[in-house]
């Protein structure tokens, strides 16, 4: 591997990491506040892809505009889903089997609706950007990768702003840390949970749209990304936002550079192995590790 090859791979890994972070953050938010492992995340990623695709094909809307519209559209979908199904889920401080199975069932339903509407064929969103590249000397960057990365970063920055500067965002973070205290200061816990679910689904839909700009998709689109999201949030420590960024970076780097060691058809095995390693070595994720180091230093 020459140095230029290395740089090219490093850049594509970084671009991928940004997109992965946008993909996984919705799952973290929902897990953190409600302790629901949202397996239906895959279904919403898929629906997001078709949402952007349909707007592009039928209405001629620019895919990035479609991604932007996916936020409010999927927010509403998320709130409705939580209203319809979430009431049946016991409010819990620990993940429950009931919510896991419910979300798994929802995924199957969404996936089959996908097959019903769009069939089994692969689709792709093609724009003039798709095959364009930007060159800096010997370094080549795919234009679409850069655009998707930028969109992911902007949406994550917006989320960061909401989480730290608004009452809604602060109440989300407070709910992740201590539900009881939220009740006694007058945060409407159920309503906040519902809106958080909407927020998580909004990010799933928009991230699905972004991923659809990079890869062809079918109604089974979400599956490999669900596994990746899962690896990322476990690596990150399940409910830590900064953990998601670190987890995304680790996964993207490992996936990208592993092509030297294992054939690319084994890629799913990479994320799975990483999950197993993370569970054994870093059960609390990066965030848990950081907390342990801090407390050790304090002693």
């Amino acid at each position: 591997m020459t140095f230029v090859d290395f740089l090219n791979l490093l850049i594509s890994a970084l671009l991928l990491a940004g997109t992965y972070a946008a993909m996984a953050i919705g799952m973290t938010v929902i897990y953190g506040v409600m302790k629901i492992v949202n397996l239906a995340h895959a279904g919403f990623l898929m629906l997001g892809a078709y949402f952007v695709y349909e707007l592009h094909e039928r209405a001629g809307l620019h895919p990035l505009l479609g991604v932007l519209l996916a936020f409010p559209a999927f927010y509403v979908v998320g709130v409705l889903v939580h209203w319809a199904l979430g009431r049946g889920v016991p409010v819990s401080d620990k993940p429950t089997l009931a919510s896991l199975l419910l979300m798994f069932g929802l995924w199957l339903v969404l996936q089959n609706i996908g097959y019903l509407v769009w069939g089994t064929d692969d689709r792709a969103i093609l724009t003039p950007m798709t095959f364009a590249t930007i060159r800096f000397g010997e370094i080549t960057i795919p234009k679409i990768g850069l655009v998707v990365f930028a969109s992911a970063v902007i949406s994550l920055a917006a989320l960061e702003f909401v989480l730290h500067r608004t009452w809604f965002g602060r109440s989300i973070r407070a709910l992740i840390q201590n539900r009881y205290s939220c009740r006694i200061v007058g945060i409407p816990v159920e309503r906040t949970a519902r809106r958080t679910f909407g927020l998580g689904i909004a990010f799933a839909g928009a991230a699905g749209g972004l991923l659809a700009l990079l890869y062809p998709f079918s109604p089974d689109f979400g599956r490999p990304f669900l596994l990746r999201s899962f690896v990322i949030i476990v690596l990150g420590g399940l409910e830590s936002f900064s953990g998601v960024f670190v987890g995304s970076l680790i996964l993207a780097l490992v996936e990208t550079f592993s092509i030297f060691i294992v054939p690319s058809s084994y890629q799913p095995a990479i994320s799975f192995s990483l999950l197993v390693v993370a569970l054994i070595v870093l059960p609390g994720g990066v965030a848990g590790f950081a907390a342990r180091m801090r407390s050790r230093r304090a002693e």
């Binding site: 109440s171 973070r173 840390q177 201590n178 009740r183 006694i184 200061v185 007058g186 945060i187 409407p188």
Partner: protein, 219 residues
């Protein structure tokens, strides 16, 4: 579980709930703020029935609970912890001025306002919890075991603080195992034993009561 208890706190005064661990003191306070359900009976705040109101609506009536064990958001900053104390919409507009008031009262918290609450010492965390309660600009302030796990010097400070807050006209309901302190700052007291009120009366009279002296004051 708490059975058929009846207690009243006169506006602008300090009342205390004393009794052993597990007597139902915390349960009572949590039921008043709406964090625990009430199966029967009534909760009246300034004469209006709030028994069926959810916690987030009750808090708008300016009641605050400083819970046992402080229950801060450990990974949020001191300032964020305080601000969330003024979460109800009717309080948010005044949050900035309440915050200044809390900082005047606790300069220590102002120094540490950008630190994560989990990094404070026990006494500072208790100050932060009291500050968060005061951010609701409460008419009724409930304190649950505010002295638990703190050094004696800090305990003195905390009870001085309770007196100061009471002098500003805030109604206070204080639950504590430390009967000596609780009875010295309060005007009226209730003794809870296994979910019932065993005894009540003006605090001075309770201090002189044989049962209270033997069981709680170690005399």
């Amino acid at each position: 579980m708490v059975w058929g208890i009846s207690l009243a706190v006169e506006a602008g005064s300090v009342a205390c709930l004393i009794g052993p661990n597990g007597a139902g003191k915390s349960t009572t306070l949590n039921a008043v703020i709406g964090a625990l359900p009430v199966k029967g009976g009534q909760i009246l705040l300034q004469g209006s029935d709030v028994t069926r109101e959810k916690a987030h609506r009750r808090v708008r009536r300016r009641i605050a609970l400083i819970p046992e064990g402080r229950q801060l958001w450990q990974r949020m900053t001191v300032e964020e912890n305080l601000l969330l104390g003024a979460f109800p919409k009717n309080l948010r507009r005044s949050a900035a001025s309440f915050l200044e008031r809390v900082y005047t009262m606790f300069p220590r918290l102002k120094e540490r306002r950008h630190q994560a609450a989990g990094t404070l010492s026990g006494g500072e965390q208790q100050m932060c919890a009291v500050g968060r309660g005061l951010m609701a600009d409460p008419l009724l302030l409930m304190l649950d075991e505010p002295s638990l796990g703190l050094a004696p010097r800090i305990v003195d400070e905390i009870f001085d603080l309770v007196r100061t807050i009471a002098q500003q006209g805030v109604t206070i309901l204080l639950a504590a195992q430390n009967a000596n302190y609780a009875l010295s700052v309060s005007r009226y007291g209730y003794v809870m034993e296994s979910g019932r009120i065993a005894l009540e009366g003006p605090s001075e009279r309770l201090r002189a009561d044989d049962h209270v002296r033997q069981a709680y004051l170690g005399a």
